[in-house]
């Protein structure tokens, strides 16, 4: 007896083409016409991009440590953040500022973190979100744990996590899919596939047609969208989050985008990828695309654009000033290395704390 016991597919969605035109011949989500909302998100995308540029400039001038740019990811990131409710929980990797800004993380938070100051992870306005997770893909299981907590407590909250194309190869991500399946968790796992994991191209991670299909391992609904199309990203995220919130279990969304920048400021991508590829990516990038659409539709104009840029530039400058002011005039004392290790300082650490305080001013005299 040979019979098919299970069948699956991965569908791809794109509503706005690279030129910012709606693609005809398919049902459009209502939000494609919700210009107020789209403008709000567009503003967030621009804000994110202006911030990103400034952060790189700060790094280049020695005022910030290594920084991971989010250039080109704005639609993916802002869509994720916009689809979530405040009470939901986000478990980031390290470059999803666009998500985090929607959730209340401040520009200054981000600068503090990459500026080597732990206070950057003390999000006053996103109090239960996880901090950046440098060990790739581990955040997916934290999100799964959060989702289980919400499920056990009967709270209508959803946990969302992001992983890269590289990170999608890691057991943590794959075990999170399985956990989502096992407990039908309110969990949305987003693969932001930007084609590169530092110098390793997507094609080396595996030879499968999509990364979304990793969700099939757990029987999860798994779709792929154009990650430079804000409308497709947002539509997918809303669908996924709604399903998760309703108790239908977990969801995998792969967003196809491109890392236009170097991996981080410590990287030089020219070593390993042709410039033509980057140029091609510029032609598809998300900010111009959405702007075209909004302008075509009369929902945005050049005057607004200029005003927005000015506004963002000012805000970003202010954040940079604030950041520099904090690290210069209110640096964390050495003792804070100890004060957050435990709720109560154990005796051995208390001794070491005193020692560290004593030696405080030799820092740098290595």
């Amino acid at each position: 007896m040979a019979r098919t016991v299970a069948a699956f597919k991965v569908d791809y969605f794109q509503f706005l083409n690279p030129d910012g035109q709606l693609i005809e011949g398919q049902q459009l989500p209502a939000l494609a016409r919700d210009f107020e909302r789209l403008v709000t998100m567009y503003r967030q995308m621009v804000r994110t991009r202006v911030f990103d540029k400034k952060a790189i400039a700060l790094q280049r001038t020695g005022k910030l440590g290594t920084y991971a740019s989010c250039l080109g990811h704005e639609a993916s990131h802002v869509a994720i953040g916009s689809a979530m409710r405040p009470e939901d929980c986000f478990a980031p990797m390290y470059r999803e500022y666009g998500v985090q800004f929607c959730r209340g993380v401040t520009l200054t938070d981000v600068l503090l973190y990459w500026g080597g100051d732990e206070r950057g992870s003390d999000y006053a306005h996103a109090p239960h979100d996880f901090a950046w997770s440098v060990p790739i893909a581990t955040q997916c299981l934290h999100a799964a744990g959060a989702a289980l907590a919400y499920k056990l407590r009967n709270e209508p909250r959803v946990a969302v996590s992001v992983v890269g194309d590289g990170g999608s190869s890691k057991g943590d991500f794959l075990e999170a899919i399985n956990a989502g399946s096992a407990w039908k968790l309110p969990l949305v796992l987003v693969i932001v596939n930007n084609q590169w994991a530092i110098s390793v191209p997507r094609s080396r991670q595996n030879t499968a047609a999509t990364l979304a299909q990793k969700g099939i391992a757990g029987g999860l609904p798994s779709i792929q969208v154009d990650g430079n199309d804000l409308i497709a990203c947002l539509w997918a995220m809303e669908k996924a989050i709604e399903a998760a919130r309703k108790g239908h279990g977990s969801f995998v969304v792969e967003m196809l985008t491109y890392r236009i920048s170097d991996h981080t400021t410590a990287d030089d991508a020219r070593r390993y990828r042709p410039n033509e590829e980057v140029e091609e990516a510029w032609a598809k990038e998300p900010v111009a695309r959405l702007r075209s659409y909004l302008m075509d539709q009369g929902a945005w104009d050049e005057g607004q654009e200029q005003a927005l840029l000015a506004e963002c530039t000012a805000e970003v400058q202010q954040a940079a000033d604030e950041y520099l002011d904090i690290v210069t005039n209110d640096p964390q004392p050495v003792t804070t290395m100890f004060d957050f290790m435990f709720a109560e300082l154990p005796h051995d650490l208390a001794e070491q704390r005193a020692q560290a305080e004593h030696y405080q001013d030799t820092g740098g005299q290595h």
Partner: protein, 326 residues
């Protein structure tokens, strides 16, 4: 008040914690219907329900990672790893997240999870069921490492571990799970997570150990006492943070110390204690500090395991060496 075994002390503490705090969630492989392969969670799922006592898929990274996530979102996961040998995949989440959550977020989030598991050899178990990895966990900043050696300490220390607002690795010496019974009152009283317990007072030599090696060390102490040696015996109990005070104070009186650990010697907890003596304790030492340890080899399969683990004779011989010095 009933006389109970060490593992019953564990079960009692788990039940109490589940009872007193609705945020406590017991999870792990086979902890539900089956009550754990050693029966540590026996009856708990029946009593507290499937929402409180969860069988998980077979995935240790997942158990550790999700526990971190649950803990950061307000629950108190008490995760079981089935055996010491299977905790290695959990090292990543413990080291990189559990021990760092509070510090990383300047106290905004924390990680009040417990990872408990049976540890050590001597029960004729298969490969990977008999390791003593406490030093690995003790080397991780931000994590408490606790190992009880009696039913009462199992109860009191586990309760404290679960109530503690930070991550605790709670290692259960399986070889003595059912060794001794002791009357333990289920009164909810916890024991402190930062002190050694002095089990015997003495003046000639200090024997320092923890976990299941308490058994052989007590026997060695008996033998030494029968020779007229006055033995002070310390159960370290909490391996990180280490209560070096108590050990230093004892050795300041006895001048002699033997440290016994089942784990391999190299970079183990016994070395840390000896190093503490070589620094702050040096002027009180009348003899070399000896360590009696598992060898720096793989824990052998069961036919040779007792040859691997410190024996009473090895402990007594080390004590004799230390005592001979005058």
């Amino acid at each position: 008040m009933a006389a109970i075994t060490l593992i019953e002390g564990v079960t009692l503490a788990l039940a109490r914690a589940l009872e007193e705090d609705p945020g406590v969630i017991v999870l792990g492989e086979d902890v539900g219907v089956n009550g754990g392969v050693f029966r540590a969670t026996a009856g708990l799922q029946q009593r507290f329900g499937e929402q409180r006592v969860l069988d998980t898929p077979l995935a240790e990274v997942m158990i550790a990672g999700m526990s971190v996530g649950m803990a950061a979102q307000g629950l108190k996961p008490v995760a079981e790893a089935q055996f010491c040998g299977f905790t290695m995949p959990m090292v990543d989440h413990l080291m990189c997240h559990a021990g760092r959550m509070r510090n990383r977020t300047r106290g905004r989030l924390s990680c009040p999870m417990v990872l408990r598991f049976p540890t050590g050899g001597g029960i004729h178990a298969p490969e990977h069921h008999s390791e003593s990895p406490e030093a690995l966990f003790a080397h991780m900043p931000g994590i408490r490492v606790v190992m009880p050696s009696s039913p009462g300490r199992a109860y009191g220390l586990l309760l404290a571990a679960i109530r503690d607002p930070d991550p605790v690795v709670f290692m259960e010496p399986k070889r003595i799970y059912r060794w001794q019974k002791e009357e333990v009152e289920d009164n909810g009283e916890e024991l402190p997570l930062d002190v050694c317990f002095t089990l015997r007072d003495g003046s000639d030599i200090t024997l320092v150990t923890w976990g299941a090696m308490i058994k052989e060390t007590l026997q060695a102490a008996d033998q030494l006492e029968s020779e007229g040696v006055s033995v002070e015996l310390i159960d370290v109990a909490t391996l990180s943070p280490l209560d070096m005070e108590t050990i230093l104070e004892s050795v300041s009186r006895t001048g002699r110390c033997v440290i016994i650990q089942e784990a391999p010697r190299h970079c183990g907890v016994a070395g840390e204690i000896a190093a503490g003596l070589a620094d702050a304790g040096i002027w009180n030492l009348l003899a070399p500090v000896k360590r009696v340890c598992g060898y720096d080899t793989v824990m052998p399969l069961y036919r040779n395991e007792l040859n691997y683990m410190p024996s009473v004779r090895r402990i007594v011989d080390a004590a004799h060496q230390v005592l001979e010095v005058s």
